[in-house]
C-alpha cells in the first residue's frame, strides 16, 4: 500500500490479486447476488484507491479493506429492506406481441435462486447455505470473514470493532446455530453428504 501511494501501480495489482477473491466471496455470501457482489467489489477497490493517502500503516490492510467491504454490505442490507421484491413466481409484465412471459423464477440464474429453489444443488450445500443465510448479521459476518477471508479472530475484531473474545463468542454462536439447523444431519451424515458432493 505504501508503494502504491508512492506511485507504484504494480503494487496495487499485487493487493488486488491477494485480496480480491476473499473480498468477492465475502460480498457474495453477504448480498447473495454475484452481479451485485461484483459491483461492490469494484466499489471497495475504488474506495481503496481514493483513500490511499488516508491509509495508516499502523492498521493492517486486511482490516482496513474488509472494514470498507463490511460497511458497504451494511448499507446494502439497509437498502434491500426497502427494495420492492417482486414475486419470483409471478409472470413478468407482458410486452406487446410477446404473449405470456415466463416467470421471473425461470429467468434467474441458478446461483441467485433462494436456497429452497436450488433443486440441482447438493443437499448439504443447500442446507448449509440456507443456515448461513439465516444467521444473525453479526454472527454471519464473523463466520464469513473467517471462512472466506481466512482472517484471524483478532483481525475480525479490529474490522467489526469488537473485542477478540466477543468475536470468538459470535463464531461459537454461529456454529451452534448451524449445528441446530443441521441437527438432523449427524456428523456421519455430514461426512456422507460431503462425499456425495465430492463425487458428484
Amino acid at each position: 500500500m505504501d508503494e502504491f501511494r508512492l506511485g507504484d501501480s504494480d503494487a496495487f495489482e499485487v493487493l488486488v490479486t491477494r485480496h480480491s477473491r476473499g473480498l468477492y466471496n465475502f460480498l457474495l455470501r453477504s448480498v447473495h447476488a454475484p452481479a451485485r457482489a461484483e459491483e461492490l467489489l469494484q466499489e471497495v477497490l475504488l474506495r481503496v484507491i481514493r483513500s490511499k493517502d488516508r491509509y495508516r500503516r499502523s492498521a493492517r490492510f486486511t482490516t482496513w479493506v474488509y472494514t470498507i467491504a463490511r460497511n458497504l454490505c451494511v448499507d446494502e442490507s439497509r437498502r434491500a429492506r426497502f427494495r420492492d421484491h417482486e414475486s419470483l413466481d409471478a409472470p413478468l409484465r407482458r410486452r406487446a406481441g410477446h404473449g405470456n412471459a415466463p416467470s421471473l423464477l425461470a429467468t434467474i440464474p441458478s446461483d441467485d435462486l433462494p436456497l429452497e429453489l436450488m433443486a440441482q444443488s447438493p443437499r448439504l450445500r443447500a442446507r448449509i447455505n440456507g443456515a448461513v443465510l439465516r444467521l444473525p448479521a453479526d454472527q454471519r459476518e464473523v463466520f464469513l470473514m473467517r471462512l472466506m477471508a481466512g482472517m484471524s479472530f483478532r483481525e475480525i475484531g479490529e474490522t467489526v470493532g469488537a473485542p477478540e473474545n466477543t468475536v470468538k463468542s459470535r463464531m461459537r454462536y454461529a456454529l451452534d446455530k448451524l449445528r441446530e439447523e443441521l441437527a438432523d444431519l449427524r456428523p456421519v451424515a455430514i461426512g456422507d453428504a460431503m462425499e456425495e458432493a465430492a463425487h458428484g
Binding site: 506511485g7 484507491i49 490511499k52 448439504l124 448449509i128 471462512l147 473474545n165 470468538k168 455430514i190
Partner: protein
C-alpha cells in the same frame, strides 16, 4: 444443544480452540485429561461444520474483466501520485516546519536581544518609577542622556544618576538634544544660571516633583532643587565616574518608599560597599530613613550623621525625605488637636479632676 451442560471454563475452551480447530490434531491439543466428553463432541461438531461449510461455500473466482477499470484507475492515480507525494510531507516534516522553525527563529531573536542589551541597561530600563516625582529626575536624566550619541548612551546613563542636578545638567546640556533650549534660553552661564539650567533641563525633559523634591536616584540635588543653595554648592562639582551602586541605591529607595524596609536595607547594605562616598552617604541616609519609618529615631539620627560625614550635600536629601514623610508625621500634631479635644472631653467629663 444448549450450553447448559457446559461450564464457563469449557465454553472458553471451545472458543479458544476455534482459532486452529481445522488443523489436524487440533482437538487433541486443546483437550486435556479430564475434559468432559461433551466438550470433545462439541469440538468435533464444530470442526465438521467448518469443513462442510468450506465445501458448501467454495471460493468463487472473480469474473475476468470485472476489475479492469479499477486497475486502470489505479494506474492513473499512481501516475500522479509521485508528484503529490513530493509535496506531501510526513507529519514530522509538517511539525518541524510548523513549529520548530518558528521556535528557532524566536530563540534566535531572543538571544540577539539579550546580547544587544546589557543586563545593567535592562535592569535600568525595567525600573518602573515609583511616583512621578520620584522617577522624574531619573527619567529626565536618562532621557537627556539618551539623546547622546548611541555609543555614549550606556556610559551616560551610568553617569547621569550620580550627578547632582547641576552636574547632570552640565552633562546633559550638551547631550540633551531635545532640550537645547535650556542653554540658549538661559544665556550666560554662571553659578546661579547653571542651577536654573539644571532645573529647566529637568523640567523640559520630564515633569518632575515640586520643591518638596523627588525621592529619585539623583543624589541630593534634585530633591534639593527647591533649595537653590545646594545647587549653588554643587554647581562647580564635577561628575564623578559612574558607579554601579547608584542603581542599587535607587532600588533601595523604591523599596523603602513602597514600605519594604527589609529589602531596602539589603540594598543599602550593598551600596555601603561602594567606593564613592556619596553613594555610601546615600545608603546611610536611606538606612536612617528606614529607621525613621520604623520609629527608631536614635538609629536614624546615627545613620544621618554618618551620611553627613561622608557627604555634606546629603542633608538636603534627608530633609526632603523627611519633609515628604512629614505629612504622616504631621498627623502627630493632630494629637495636639486631639489633646484639645481631650481637654474638652476632660472638661466635659464630670468625673475629671
Amino acid at each position: 444443544m444448549a450450553d447448559l451442560d457446559l461450564g464457563p471454563a469449557e465454553l472458553d475452551l471451545l472458543e479458544d480452540a476455534l482459532e486452529d480447530l481445522e488443523l489436524p490434531g487440533a482437538i487433541d491439543r486443546w483437550l486435556e485429561d479430564g475434559t468432559s466428553p461433551a466438550v470433545r463432541e462439541r469440538l468435533e461438531d464444530y470442526r465438521s461444520l467448518l469443513v462442510a461449510s468450506r465445501e458448501a461455500l467454495p471460493l468463487e473466482d472473480v469474473r475476468a474483466g470485472v476489475l479492469d477499470d479499477v486497475i486502470a484507475e489505479a494506474n492513473r492515480v499512481a501516475a500522479v501520485a509521485p508528484v503529490a507525494a513530493a509535496s506531501q510531507d510526513s507529519w514530522w516534516s509538517r511539525v518541524r516546519r510548523s513549529f520548530m522553525m518558528p521556535a528557532l527563529a524566536l530563540a534566535g531573536t531572543a538571544a540577539l536581544v539579550l546580547w544587544v542589551f546589557d543586563p545593567e541597561d535592562r535592569a535600568k530600563l525595567a525600573e518602573p518609577p515609583l511616583t512621578p516625582t520620584a522617577s522624574a529626575p531619573t527619567v529626565a536624566a536618562d532621557e537627556a542622556v539618551d539623546d547622546q550619541a548611541p555609543e555614549e548612551g550606556e556610559r551616560a546613563r551610568e553617569l547621569e544618576p550620580l550627578d547632582p542636578p547641576e552636574q547632570s545638567s552640565a552633562q546633559a546640556t550638551p547631550a540633551a538634544a531635545p532640550a537645547p533650549d535650556a542653554p540658549t534660553d538661559e544665556g550666560a552661564i554662571d553659578g546661579a544660571s547653571e542651577a536654573k539650567l539644571a532645573e529647566d533641563a529637568d523640567k523640559d525633559a520630564k515633569p518632575k516633583a515640586t520643591g518638596m523634591g523627588s525621592l529619585g536616584d539623583v543624589p541630593g540635588g534634585v530633591m534639593g532643587g527647591s533649595k537653590t543653595a545646594e545647587p549653588h554648592k554643587q554647581a562647580g562639582s564635577s561628575a564623578g565616574p559612574a558607579s554601579g551602586r547608584w542603581d542599587i541605591v535607587a532600588r533601595a529607595d523604591r523599596a523603602r518608599q513602597s514600605g519594604d524596609c527589609v529589602a531596602a536595607r539589603q540594598e543599602y547594605s550593598l551600596a555601603l560597599e561602594d567606593d564613592d562616598p556619596r553613594v555610601r552617604a546615600r545608603a546611610f541616609a536611606g538606612l536612617g530613613l528606614c529607621d525613621t519609618q520604623e520609629g527608631n529615631d536614635p538609629g536614624a539620627e546615627a545613620n544621618f550623621e554618618r551620611a553627613r560625614e561622608l557627604d555634606g550635600e546629603v542633608g538636603g536629601f534627608i530633609d526632603s525625605q523627611q519633609q515628604r514623610a512629614r505629612p504622616s508625621k504631621k498627623r502627630k500634631p493632630k494629637a495636639s488637636k486631639s489633646k484639645k479635644s481631650v481637654m474638652l472631653d476632660d472638661m466635659n467629663d464630670p468625673f475629671s479632676p
